[in-house]
Amino acid sequence: MGADLISKNDGPDCEDSMDQEELKKQKERWSQTTLKAFVSKTPERQTKFLTASSEAVEPLYTPLDAGSDEYCLSQGFPGQYPFTRGIYPNMYRGRLWTMRQYAGFGTAQQSNERYKYLLANGQTGLSVAFDLPTQIGYDSSQSLAEGEVGKVGVAIDSLFDMEILFGGIPLDQVSTSMTINAPAGVLLAMYLAVALKQGVPCTELRGTIQNDILKEYVARGTYIFPPKPSMRLIVDTLAFCTREMPKWNPISISGYHIREAGSTAVQEVAFTLADGIAYCQAAQKAGMEIDAFAPQLSFFFSAHNDLLEEVAKFRAARRLWARIMKEKFQAKDPRSMMLRFHTQTAGSTLTAQQADNNIVRVAIQALAAVLGGTQSLHTNSRDEALALPAEKSVQIALRTQQLIAHESGVTNTCDPLAGSYYIETMTDRIEQEAQAYLDRIEDMGGMVEAIEAGFVQKEIQGSAYRYQKSIEDSSLVIVGVNKFQVKEEPPRDLLKVDPALRQIQIDKIRQIKATRDNAGVGAALDRLEQTAKGVENIMPSLVDAVKEYATLGEICDVLRRVFGEYRQQVIF
């Protein structure tokens, strides 16, 4: 039947240099004849086709849709402004992305063993997951820590735990990412203290602290302090790192959690870059030059299900950030304009049903990240909708990256999907729609104000609701959930954290408090309180306090006293 239709229609009368008008006519003709005739006999599967972010998708893209801008203006070359095609001139032909699996659970000892396992399996960077009490600045002994110790990450109460966590791992040879936000400065201080004990100078340390508080208010929830003192802590870590730790990323401006909270791809880009703009403005207000800190900013995005939309998203984010840095912030250093980013495959897309299907989902998402030019990548494990991943699952997840890197061939050239009419059209669209959000946020007075007004939260919530509704009414198919279901037994014997672990942590805290120089701790905490009340950079007093084995909870209590605590406004 297909051949029959084709034979009835002439091919296009293509000249080599067909002008736009002619192309438009030809496309209209194709649409009215060939396509229409075909579809009238064999109707399409759906009345409308949407991306995972609910954007309409046309059956065909041509030069009419894409590349309205000059090639050099909109795309350029890899390693050059506006970095649409990647931030390095030869991308993965030079160095592959860093394969970095987010891990941590139980005690520092257990997590240390998992890190060594991952490094032995060819992982190239560490990524530390902390438990919730650590992320919110509570010691394991705090009553609010009940049930949470060691669950979603490793429990760190003092420098003593941190020394165990990195025992036998030379910190001058790995790069370490730490997912820590409200108390980021404290954990950074602990990392520094461990490095100094290993004889590694802080100028040699490579890694990242997430340190992105604004997305905690809208999406992730581990805030402690109100926005104003939180922004000050961030600016202090920025200033400290640019001065003392030139190879460290003092912030990872994160869209990942915004997407996980249910945003669309456009919202992910827009709200992340809006957060980035807010941090740049805060640093400038504190007297820092844009080119002094912007090269050390890094980003973190999600790789969701829609392969091509995600590739376009990464490209659009790179181009938009480059333009913002150059035009809005007048940056001169090209490194300030480079959007360097980590990617994690989207955890919220994993299904508890037919969990092995997640291996395939993750592979497609990871491919999107690589085709989109990521600098580092975490691939989720198949069992993460159920529990913490087992060792075997983590290995498959890491192998997925290694397969893409070494077997698929997509690493052989830069930005291989560029020039696809669809990819370019979507890159343009995502950039424009994200820009429209940025304009709205600017009109509201900036991101802090937009968050305080509840605007960002409402936008994300609306998208999340629509997405879930579309799964419930099956207009969005999730394999194994609303189609192709099977009867299956719930999985048993998942990795579990021993509830007795809290007692182990409490005993350790007791032991430290009995053996440390408590007068020294008191003096360091007093100095910290004075610094927190003043305007000086807080990092040196944090380093002093952790070196005295002040606990994380003691340090954060001082800061809570000075800064106050944030109370979430419930937007629903």
Partner: protein, 134 residues
Amino acid sequence: MEKQEIRILIAKVGLDGHDRGAKFIAQALRDRGYEVIYTGIRQTPEDVAKIAIQEDVAFVGLSLLSGAHNQLFPRVVAELKKAGAEDIVVFGGGVIPADDIPFLQSQGIREIFTPGTTTDQMEEFIQRILAERA
């Protein structure tokens, strides 16, 4: 009883900030006509019981994805009992392994909804309980 007379509290206990599921359930039940209150994140079991009693709800739905459910869910039931409000029905959801469900049910949590549960299934549960009581 009319749906709008049925009050449901959706609550986040513990330190977990994953509230996408809780907000969805809250909004979906509200869209079906129930009177729904959402607590926001980081509530203690005592907070939740207090709000439940103050708001005179018939149901409390607990959401937790951090793995602290075995410790925190039973405490909500205990707090309600302590205040003489054991008629409030407690259910839960989140990342909860099948192995934990019998324990939670033995502690007075009427139902545990695992990932993939639809709003229809949740409403069936609510209606079933109401029918039992009618």
